[in-house]
Amino acid sequence: MRSGATRSLPCPGVRFEEGFARRLEAFGARLAAARERRESGGAARVAGGGTEFVGFRPYALGDDPRTIDWDLVARSGRAWVKVSRREAGERWLIALDTTASMGVGPPGKLQRAAEVAAALASLAVAAGARVQIVARSREREPRLFEVARRPDLVLLLAFLEELRAHGSRPDHPMPRVPPDASRVFLVGDLRDSSPEEALALRRRGRELALVQILAPIEILPPQGGAVEWWDPEEGATLTLEVDSTARGAYETELAREIELWRTACAQRGVPYSCSSSASTFEEILLKSAVA
């Protein structure tokens, strides 16, 4: 029996299609429009910006031109942008799971998670926040990337494309969260942690959101014949006849686990969603109520 390490993952890497950056901008614009409609009468989302004005800062390349205060420009001759209370000094953390299980697919979970992370980073930049993306797995030191301005997004995409699903569950599955991080996003399959471990990141002044992504074959296994399931992180295998009975039992177990996460998160007021990697990042974020 071969070990999982000697087998190759079906979808280990990340590759952004041409025009992906435009998709990010379009998604951001779509959410901004929706936010304007909401904030005229409702609460802001986790990844949305607030409207409480707290001051100005110099315009930097990449800032949303709509935040420019034209009166101040006329008076000062310089471009200044408005800063809201929520945006001022916000620091986001996006923890991206890059363990070997994220290489399961197609479509690859890491691919979709990277897209979600890129979209969250784009939203952060649009909201004036600084965002740190940390990619974690056991065999490697966490890889970090900071995004502060819109031009950084191009470099972020390049960073994400260098990621590979590899390695097993880290000894400490939860990332080290900077003390000033006001929002934390866990993006991955959440197979390496428990709800309690993840929800421990939630505290006063810090919002947490969990975006779980599973491969289609993990949500709805194919039926018929013998299958040797192998765990790419531990190398363990299990051969099973996937008939209708086995498939039904698996779906029951998965539904039970998802319900555990959903209940635990709901009790703590933490947005949680479980999506298929076959969904687009837009669908995943809209479903997650994060955006």
Binding site: S101, D189, A215, E228, W230, A249, E253, L254
Partner: protein, 400 residues
Amino acid sequence: MSAPELLALEWTRPLGLLALSLPIAVLLASRLFERPVEIATGTLDLWKRVRAVRSTDSTRSRLRIPLAVWLLAAGLALGALALAGPKLSPRASRELRVLVDRSPSMELPLGAGTRRDRAVEMARHWIDENVPEAPVEWIDRRRPFGPEDDRADTLWVTDVAPHPPPERAGFVASGGDAAPGPIAVDGETRYDWDGERIVEVPNGAPKRRVVVSGDLPRPIADVLAAWAGARGAEVDAGNEEHSSLVVHAYHPDPHNGPARHVDAGRDGWRAKGSVLGPAQSSFAGIPLETWLADDGGNAVVTFDKGQVDCPWIRMEDPSGDPAAFAVSWAKLFDDAVLAPPGVVELGERRAAGDEKIVARLPQAGEGFDRGSGNFPSWLALAATGCVLIAVGLARFGRMG
């Protein structure tokens, strides 16, 4: 050399059966080389729980041969059978009809028994040698063999080799030497043949008896009486034993059922009357031949050697030529009356020639050899269908 037989089939290309090893090899290879599909998953722990719930301790599943492989094997097997060229064995498909000649000459002595004994023995030997497994129907034939008996599934059993011989049926002839003896009776005078001359023997024959049970209608009874007188026979209603002819007639009786009106005729006469149902079709297991039927085809007089069944209980005077009525019924009585014991026609007593057997197994296409020629075509068609379905399943199915 005939084609070898297997499973009651003949195989014109038996080496084709070696191709049956192909489907066996395919099935064995499928079992040997089949591997379960390998799928990476991050939810192996869930599958472990599934296995535990199903109480399956072994980590190995029952590897099953995919349906596509089974169909491929079936197609190869059918193709191998088609290649071997099967056809129904004539031996397996033939039901043999054996017609035994029961003419008087068959009862003439031959060796320790009779000509009939010898002919039947010859027939049984041929059957045991050639078609031991074939179902055989033995039929007594009291009338001469006719064209309708010349069938590929028929064997004639007789004493004299038929001339001309049958074209399709086979025959066995016992042969036999000439058997001098009584050849005719006229009243109480017997005529014998001594091998060369016919000798008249006055008072050499007892009076023949004609027994009539029941009441014959008057027109028939009158003809019977006249005929018996001319033939030197007595007509009575006594015991049927030692009689030369029994005429079964009936009484109008509620136990015999209601009578029905009938209008029937033949040989230039016609008569109306009443009958008690149809005439019997057999008597003591011996089939009776229809002599007279009504317009609806219902037999109203039947007969065989020694028997006449006449359910008429009333008959009006026949119309047509009165002489025709008398001649017609007299001929019936002549055909039906038994010859006195030991009396055999001269022609029957003459030598029957030598033993002879002319019999053969039917060839393909001779009537009852049932359509074996299409076997390879149907097998090939079925084989093609199986293979095409297997290819379709393998190409478009999820597994196998």
